[in-house]
């Protein structure tokens, strides 16, 4: 690997800084008292506490999954603080009331929210270390009956809705990290699109992990009633730390008859330094239930950060004619490890799913696609198309594809395609011979490689994602 390639991937993390805002941190460790403390702090109804305690009981009986193709030291769950909240808990009515230090953080990240919100018409529900500090455009959304707020607020204001859907897609005992999340989640987002309403704008949440050694357990629940549609954007970035940070989020989507939910993520959490030290452990459970007929769940993700990514946004296609989609770009560099993919579970008749996965490995990283396509006996006429492409930059990284296909209906049609390619001297030489330097060349090759996925992103996000990939791979080629 030439020096130019090396330089391209070895740029320092651009978002590494810590914002000094006083935090209210719970003592380290996990037990029923801590869970009760979280529930009390958040002023929750009794059923919510029961939900948490039930999850905790499940969690105690479970073991960390060993099957992912990732390696990391054992996590001491008793060494983590499960609650951190900025001390200023006053409800804010406008951006002017937001802590200027926090606003400066967003400036540094290049997310000037007020501008972004105003110019792009994006409603941003800001999550900053577990407590929502500002919500914009809520009024406008309320006019059409859309509820878009923090999950804590939803538990207070719309308990019947939350109770009806929470844990119905990802049950409390679903898996180790989901159980943990269900027990201790501190905040997240709730979004409810009523019958027949097409959400007039993209909904967006920017996550940011800030307190050292505070686990982040976000909970997101999006419900689309009959005939509704919504596009939801999630973007993340985190400051630089030496100690590993655990992140175990759960996202649940429910689409009723003819509803359409599109969920897009650009993830750029701290991945550790170039020697693999530090970085976020990202163990996420994301699942959508296409419950009604003709419903559609679409996941698009651009995963560039985290030391470890363990994430399989999935679709349960229960309604007849329902559609599931998964478009993914996963970039790993240095010593990053990613084991990511999707599950498409076909239950209803004539259900269709599409999987497009693009894995890019550079440095010493390891990038695995793991996907399951399951066709149930009931899923007559089901169809799936999967395409998994890997690209290697340099000769010290790895790429793996683990496709699992289970077909129990003879009328189903399942296709799987896979490819592996490499950015090498000859490609870069071709660009150079046309006057194009290696950084731009790599960026172009990568963006071409990811085109099918980027096309699925909302315009603004696509531009951001393109830039982000450029940053992440700067210095990797040479």
């Amino acid at each position: 690997m030439s020096a130019v390639l090396q330089n391209l991937v070895n740029q320092p993390y651009k978002h590494g800084f810590v914002t000094e805002i006083e935090s209210d941190i719970a003592p380290k460790g996990l037990n029923e008292d801590i869970i009760k403390l979280i529930s009390t702090k958040k002023n929750e109804p009794a059923w919510m506490l029961d939900f948490r305690l039930q999850a905790y009981q499940h969690w105690l009986t479970m073991e960390e999954p060993k099957w992912p193709n990732v390696k990391y030291p054992k996590i001491d769950f008793q060494a983590i603080s499960y609650y951190a909240a900025p001390k200023s808990k006053k409800k804010l009515n406008s951006m002017d009331e937001v802590d200027p230090e926090l606003l400066r953080t967003f400036e540094k990240l290049g997310v000037p929210m007020h501008e972004r919100a105003a110019l792009a018409g994006v409603a941003v529900d800001v999550i900053f270390d577990s407590v929502s500090v500002a919500t914009t455009y809520k009024q406008k959304l309320a006019e059409v009956g859309i509820i878009f707020c923090s999950i804590s607020e939803a538990i207070q204001m719309h308990p019947e809705l939350v109770r009806q859907y929470l844990g119905t897609v990802v049950p409390v005992g679903d898996n180790y990290y989901a159980a943990l999340n269900s027990a201790v989640f501190t905040d997240g987002t709730f979004c409810f699109i009523p019958k027949g309403v097409k959400c007039p704008m993209d909904l967006s949440t920017y996550f940011r992990i800030n307190t050292e050694e505070s686990g982040q357990f976000e909970r997101t629940l999006i419900v689309g009633e009959e005939g509704s549609s919504v596009s939801y954007l999630e973007g993340c970035t985190a400051p630089k730390f030496d100690t590993n940070q655990l992140h175990a989020a759960v996202v649940e989507l429910v689409a009723l008859d003819n509803a359409d939910i599109k969920y897009s993520t650009v993830q750029n959490w701290y991945a550790g330094d170039e020697n693999g030290l530090g970085g976020i452990y990202n163990f996420v459970t994301k699942r959508g239930l296409a419950k009604g007929v003709n419903s559609r769940i679409s996941w698009t993700q651009v995963e560039t950060g985290s030391a470890i990514t363990w994430k399989y946004p999935s679709c349960i296609l229960r309604g007849d004619n329902s559609v599931g989609e998964f478009y993914s770009v996963a970039v790993t560099n240095h010593y990053q490890q990613a084991d990511t993919g999707t599950k498409m579970v076909h239950i209803g008749k004539n259900t269709r799913s599409t999987i497009v996965s693009k894995g890019i490995s550079a440095g010493h990283s390891n990038n695995s696609y793991r996907g399951l396509v399951r066709i149930a006996p009931t899923a007559a006429g089901a169809r799936n198309y999967s395409q998994c492409d890997s690209m290697l930059i340099g000769d010290k990284c790895g790429a793996n594809t683990f496709p699992y296909i289970q077909v129990r209906n003879q009328e189903a049609k399942v296709e799987h395609e896979a490819s592996t390619s490499k950015i090498g001297e000859d490609q870069l030489f071709y660009f150079a011979q046309r006057g194009i330097g290696s950084e731009e060349a790599v960026s172009m090759i990568i963006n071409g490689f990811c085109k099918d996925v980027f096309q699925q992103l909302p315009m603004e996000f696509a531009v951001e994602a393109t830039k982000l990939l450029g940053f992440k791979l700067e210095g990797s080629v040479g």
Partner: protein
């Protein structure tokens, strides 16, 4: 065409180069002036393509001796992309495919990069579209080439046309065509060579690297050089190519050995 007020564009002296520890170029001398067309011929493995890649700056080849002066500057002081911007062009024998990157995007980026270097105006996508369509007529290319991925799924002939299209856009001072004739049928050969001829001016020079005399029926060289074992062992006019076509290469190296032995 050889003409009176020509300038020296490229001066190669005693050029040596190795790849994977094996010396391929063993002392090449060549002078190229503006307006000239040079053909470099020779058997497989004689070092023709290596010579082309070394001039363009491929990183797999290490220059171990000699010098190349390009328009008064030491060529080896320039990185590959700087050579390209300064006007050294290589039409590839095997152009790479870049899936997902629209040809129009790639061509415009290359064009604007070179324009910027020359202090000339860059073109926005709409302006460039008009500009490139005009150039494509020269090579009888279908406009749908612009929307396809760079060389993605192109036939051999289409790739070669795309190379010459890039030459037309970048207007190099020295264009090296590495076996541009290989893999072309008669019609494509006629179109491609016709394009090259139209791009040949008194201010630039063309170096054709080829096995066969065939292409030289269309692009008439001022000089024909025979390369053997990493050296140019014979130089003549266009008639030398015809002689090679009938007699093969062996007599040239035999002649050279005789001279060396004498």
């Amino acid at each position: 065409m050889i003409h009176q007020d020509s300038r020296t564009l490229l001066e190669v002296r005693g050029l040596r180069a190795v790849v994977n520890g094996i010396e391929i170029l063993k002392g090449i001398d060549l002078t190229v002036r503006s307006g000239e067309v040079h053909a470099i011929m020779g058997t497989n493995g004689s070092g023709k393509s290596t010579f082309a890649k070394v001039l363009a700056g491929h990183s797999a080849y290490e220059v171990t001796g000699g010098s190349v002066i390009f328009e008064g500057h030491n060529l080896f002081d320039l990185k590959p992309e700087e050579r390209a911007r300064a006007g050294v062009f290589l039409a590839f024998q095997y152009p790479i495919e870049i899936p997902g990157v629209a040809n129009s995007h790639f061509l415009r980026l290359a064009y604007n990069t070179v324009q910027e270097q020359r202090g000339q105006d860059e073109l926005d996508p709409l302006e460039f579209d008009d500009f490139v369509r005009e150039k494509m007529k020269l090579l009888e290319m279908n406009p749908d080439f612009l929307d396809r991925g760079v060389n993605e799924g192109f036939s051999g002939g289409e790739k070669k046309r795309n190379e010459i299209l890039q030459m037309a856009l970048l207007e190099p001072r020295v264009a090296i065509l590495d076996e541009t004739d290989s893999g072309l049928d008669i019609d494509a050969l006629r179109i491609v060579t016709n394009g090259v001829n139209q791009l040949s001016t008194k201010d630039n020079a063309i170096i054709l690297v080829t096995h066969y005399q065939r292409m030289l029926n269309y692009i008439v060289p001022d000089f024909v050089h025979v390369m053997h074992a990493g050296r140019i062992i014979k130089t003549g006019g266009k008639e030398l190519a015809l002689e090679l076509e009938t007699r093969g290469y062996d007599w040239v190296s035999a002649e050279q050995r005789a001279v060396a032995g004498a």
